[in-house]
Symmetry: C2
Subunit: 229 residues, 2 copies
């Protein structure tokens, strides 16, 4: 049996940083499924598995290729029903899409403004050139212009997490008493920031900070296998 | 068998407007449970069931008193397991708390700024006095100062719903193929705005608008039983 997970790296292969890949790493650990990780720089992605994808994570599971962190999670739950569920029912599956929307349209844009230059700086020169061109086209602005709002985003970051704070009044995880894929979705975003940037966005004693530290401890401290920036 | 739902009204008893009560009205309809509604003005709430609550909805179900829309939904699912679930599993139950957080900490504050004077104006004089004093103390500002950001909130409202829009790329309801309590949570917020204010926050063709119109059609058009302001 072979299971390969293609992840994203900069110049240092030991510091995978993609939020989406972290969701999948936590999902595989949640289900107790072993894998070999293949760290891949931005410019290596088009060469994965003969051009199978434009993005990572890409999972090869005994010959089955699955792309996209949410689809991988659905695939894992369907393929390995004897392992702990990532969704705990159809309602959990459906509502996780809303959490994904919140992560990608509220949290990710803020992290991008905070950390875009940090990300650039950790890439190898060839990938820096790709990253600058690709992201400047996407945002119609220079990386430096995107980063101009950095301090304001850091100051406003905590307030964006109020929906999390409300939920944590009732339960320790988005998933309830124990974590589910929805936790890994938001963990992935904050882990991305933790690895690429030394920006401090959560205060000690903040319930969201406590939740995040708890997530770093999960699965034998998997999240701590990469040090903070 | 008697089932009473205490709801919130202004001077016109036929226009219940509380977002939280609308969640419960939709939840009861979802489960096919009949009830008698008792419209109650703000200053009547302390007198409900001998002082049982400071807020509505309050449900009396064959002698059992339950307060708070989320707790009522949990109670209904536990008490009437033979009727359609409001959560579809433990994951759905847990993640609905996050949707509640998003509704109350992202959507409600915007609606408050947009509609606080509209709400005031639809109350009877005695309730207007209560509402002004209570809310001005809560916000440490006059109602008029809260409403000063109205136009800006209307302009920025649609962008706050991006997490919904992302979810709707994959499925017609937060609950997946069909609505769950999570849908009623956000429906309640937008229905509140629809009933109290003529502010237009969603454009025709916006998937969130289509979802909301679909929710208004549910359960024999229950949401349309009160006309838009």
């Amino acid at each position: 049996m072979t299971r390969l997970l293609y992840s994203l790296c900069g110049a240092d292969e030991t510091r995978p940083f993609s939020p989406h890949v972290w969701k999948t790493k936590m999902a595989l650990a949640h289900k107790g499924l072993a894998y070999r990780e293949v760290p891949t720089p931005f410019t290596g992605i088009p060469h994965i598995e003969g051009g199978a994808t434009k993005t990572v994570p890409l999972l090869v599971d005994n010959g089955t290729v699955v792309i996209d962190s949410f689809r991988i999670a659905l695939y894992l739950d369907a393929t390995y029903p004897e392992t702990p569920s990532l969704f705990r029912g159809e309602g959990g599956k459906a509502l996780s899409r809303f959490v994904e929307g919140y992560s990608q349209f509220v949290v990710h844009p803020a992290i991008t403004k905070i950390a875009i230059l940090d990300i650039h700086d950790m890439l190898a020169p060839k990938d820096q050139a790709y990253f600058r061109e690709n992201r400047e086209q996407r945002f119609s602005r220079s990386l430096e212009e995107v980063a101009a709002g950095r301090e304001q985003e850091i100051a406003g970051f905590s307030a964006k997490l109020e929906p999390m704070r409300h939920m944590l009044k009732f339960q320790p995880f988005l998933g309830g008493d124990s974590p589910l894929f929805a936790d890994y979705i938001l963990f992935g975003a904050l882990q991305w920031l933790r690895i690429v940037s030394d920006a401090k966005v959560l205060a000690a004693g903040d319930p969201v900070n406590d939740w995040f530290e708890g997530c770093l401890d999960l699965h034998d401290g998997l999240g701590r296998s990469v040090d903070a920036a």
